[in-house]
Subunit: 109 residues, 2 copies
Amino acid sequence: MIMEFEKIADILKALADPTRLKILSLLRIRDCCVCELVPIFNISQPAISKHVSRLKTAELVRETRKGQWVFYSINEKRLEEIGYAISHLPDLSEELRKLEQQGLTVTCE
Amino acid sequence: MIMEFEKIADILKALADPTRLKILSLLRIRDCCVCELVPIFNISQPAISKHVSRLKTAELVRETRKGQWVFYSINEKRLEEIGYAISHLPDLSEELRKLEQQGLTVTCE
DNA sequence: TAATAATATAACCATATTGTTATATGTATA
DNA sequence: TATACATATAACAATATGGTTATATTATTA
């Protein structure tokens, strides 16, 4: 299915941060909870919590509570979806057609 | 080749904007110059110019001057690279191993 | 129940992002 | 050369982002 530009941009914004990319790379190895991620990064627990929350909003990770811990797992399907979305962006041929009708296209050489 | 987290994040930031995604979608149809893009979007000429400049910095588009116009073309290779980079993020197993050595991993159930 | 541990949220700050208008630069043409 | 057109850059404003510390929430355990 074709994903809207705004939706794709929103998911890409969630991905477009080195810390969040590192979290995803770690979750590829195994599920982790926030308290395991904290000592790996030089940022506070609330900062990590906000990063995983951002990934969750974009459905790039899923959470499972296990007692006092919340384990996060990667949603590989979502990553595949975003790859597909980038190579199948919504078609804007109509916009270019309108431009031509208005005589606003540039023809050179 | 494996791309560093910061580099991937930087390219993803260039992609993570609806206007820039629409520009890329238009360039998939044919090369365009800034003056053709302006009437398609509800933003000023300098705003469009800055967007294509951001895409150029990330090597997602290339420019060719033709007389007074600058035509922009999509660099599909770069888009493929970023797709590959996302599915082959740098490996952080070592970080998790250190965590285990320090006894900071959580074992439950 | 009280204390502890893990996580999330609130309030705040510094910086980045994305738009604006004004202006500079580069190229073609009268 | 002077003018016009396309594009880029500068200066600025509003909002978003990513960090901080303090505190609230949720679950476990003494």
